[in-house]
Amino acid sequence: MSETIRLEYTVPGDDFARAGEASADLKHTLKRMGFPAEAIRKASIALYEGEINLAIHAHGGQIAVEVTPTAIQMRLTDQGPGIPDIDLAMQEGYSTASEQVRSLGFGAGMGLPNMKRYTDQFAIGSQVGVGTTIEMSVLL
């Protein structure tokens, strides 16, 4: 593949049932295009965790994906409440999710660590009251 492929998604806030649609679309689009299965799996799992976070913490957000010949690059932006202590949020097991979110199977404090684990490059920036941006890539 020599061209850059661009995909954009809007994640609705507080619509838990629809969270994951963007990651599923990314996964199946890249699969159809013949990208390596392991890279697709890593990228789509990381994006799925991000999508869940957008839905449950940030009242929704935007996802922009660029697939170049060398990487699957994903940028997630939201205008949610922001993260006061990023180091703490990156620790496995730390979560601010509500009991309701936990009863839905998330909020185990594994979302951000999983995103970092499954990607080759991971950067997060956040400002309380303004929002959060995550940029992460899986190399091809």
Binding site: F16, A17, A19, G20, S23, A24, K27, A37, R41, K42, S44, I45, Y48, E49, I52, L104, G105, F106, G107, A108, G109, M110, G111, P113, N114, R117, Y118
Partner: protein, 117 residues
């Protein structure tokens, strides 16, 4: 182990009639926390869960899992079953508890997968 074997061992009901029951299952994972499921790489895996919402199927799909078993008599909604069928994931329902269902599969030789990426 095949999906058919899991169906028989757990005295389960198959909710996706078109599923390929001769599909091989290499590893298993039992959890109600989807992020824990997502933390470990699995190969041709079955997910046992008592959680009952569409994110169970999304998680299984992201992990390329081949089968979901709903334990302790949980019945997924038709939408959940349909989503799984679209993704080629077999859906089973058993009356056994999580502990018993996992134990039966372990005793029959199925193992978990414990490695991070």
């Amino acid at each position: 182990m095949t999906i058919q074997t899991i169906l028989d061992l757990l005295q389960a009901e198959l909710l996706t009639p078109d599923a390929r029951l001769d599909t091989q299952v290499h590893t298993a994972c039992g959890s109600d926390m989807m992020s824990d499921v997502l933390a470990y790489v699995k190969d041709q895996a079955v997910l046992l869960t008592g959680l009952n919402n569409p994110q169970v199927v999304r998680t299984a799909d992201m992990m390329d899992m081949v089968c979901i078993v709903f334990v302790r008599g949980k019945r997924p909604s038709p939408e959940v079953v349909q989503l799984a069928a679209q993704r080629g994931i077999a859906v089973l329902a058993t009356g056994h508890t999580m502990f018993s269902a996992c134990g039966m599969l372990y005793a029959a030789g199925l193992r978990g997968s414990g490695s991070h990426v």
